[in-house]
Symmetry: C2
Subunit: 192 residues, 2 copies
DNA sequence: TTCATTACGTGATGTAGATCACATTCGTAA
DNA sequence: TTACGAATGTGATCTACATCACGTAATGAA
């Protein structure tokens, strides 16, 4: 699907916006393409944009001192990604974002988002609800981390991201679940 | 501090709002008081309101099938609490909210929030940023869960909620950290 | 096609934290 | 003031998962 049509459909699920308003809204987005493995945000970068995925898959992840990687989020088409802590607070990136596959995205700068939010009430409405949903999802995942064992979280992951199974390397799945790749391997080989 | 002044100060940190607009905004909030131990939202309830804490401390928590409790959030003065998944999706509560101490709060119904957000652009702006901050905090906590051991998370907690230490029962601290009370006890008795 | 890198599987062992069990102290209501 | 339930401390086990170590299979660039 065309980038513009995909974003429009996405926005209309939340906000009432006229065709002219959407054209204006859309004019602030910039199409970009990336290759598999390419980095979009690296730790230490100044973060000025957030990204709406049209095609492909991104991952947002953190790497600790022992070079262990934790994946906060996979971003599939119609999902958003950035280092939001850095973007909102104007601090340097601590989260990385890169491409799990070739990807087509739309980028939106922080200042343009604030500009269209102040100019268009419905844009502000849209972004409020987008984050509301993100907040609920983050809280749900946190709870799952506290309450569920690895096997259960693995099964939840397959429901949330069915397209990931047999698509991305297993060690990325492990990094999302917060377990070692060895544990994940033993888990899905023994449990069926 | 007066409830109205506290909320006003809180809103003005994020949004530009005139005195008249704030008066209108505030008119949708309803003051309520609760006793220590009293329940505000119970699992299975219809959730229609969110709560802004004026005084005291609330906890938002989940109880699993084995009757083990996990605390998602403590809410201190100027913090908000509810079962947002239930509130936003109009589903039954899966999260409980109750009072760690006697508490004074302001309640705001879902429909009144949406009403003032549509009537007042600055209200929509305020709630967008409130949730933005909540989202970033939730993500940060998730990361801490994946990356840090219990002792580190315990020390983070003391920074985030210094008032909690020596104020709330230790088993609640344990329920926030996601460890057993025994483990927490050993931790802070051995580590100094 | 070859070679190197990355992904994946699996055994052996170590460890943080859960669970169970019980003793002690504290807080609050009568 | 007493008394009873809640909160806390601490030892003895048990277990899920990490880590290390190594071998094999798949992938991708020259």
């Amino acid at each position: 699907m065309q980038a513009k049509a995909l974003l429009k459909e996405h926005v209309l699920k939340i906000a009432s916006i006229t065709d002219e308003e959407f054209d204006y809204f859309f004019s602030h987005f910039k199409p970009e393409t990336f290759k598999k493995g390419q980095s979009i945000i690296s730790e230490g970068d100044v973060v000025d944009k957030e990204y709406f995925v049209i095609d492909g898959c991104l991952k947002a992840f953190f790497v600790n001192d022992e070079v262990k990687m934790y994946i906060l989020q996979f971003a599939m088409p119609t999902w958003w990604a950035s280092d939001y802590a850095a973007l909102y607070n104007k601090t340097k990136a601590t989260i990385n974002v890169d491409c799990v596959s070739d990807a087509a995205i739309l980028s939106l700068s922080n200042s343009d988002r604030e500009k269209i939010c102040s100019e268009l009430h419905q844009a502000e409405h849209f972004f409020r609800w987008r984050t509301n949903k993100g907040y609920v999802a983050a809280q749900k995942r946190l709870l799952s981390f506290m309450n569920n064992d690895t096997k259960t979280r693995y099964e939840e992951l397959l429901v949330l991201y069915p397209a990931l199974y047999n698509t991305v390397p297993k060690h990325l799945i492990a990094a999302y679940l917060g377990v070692s790749r060895e544990t994940l391997s033993r888990l899905y080989n023994s449990s069926k």
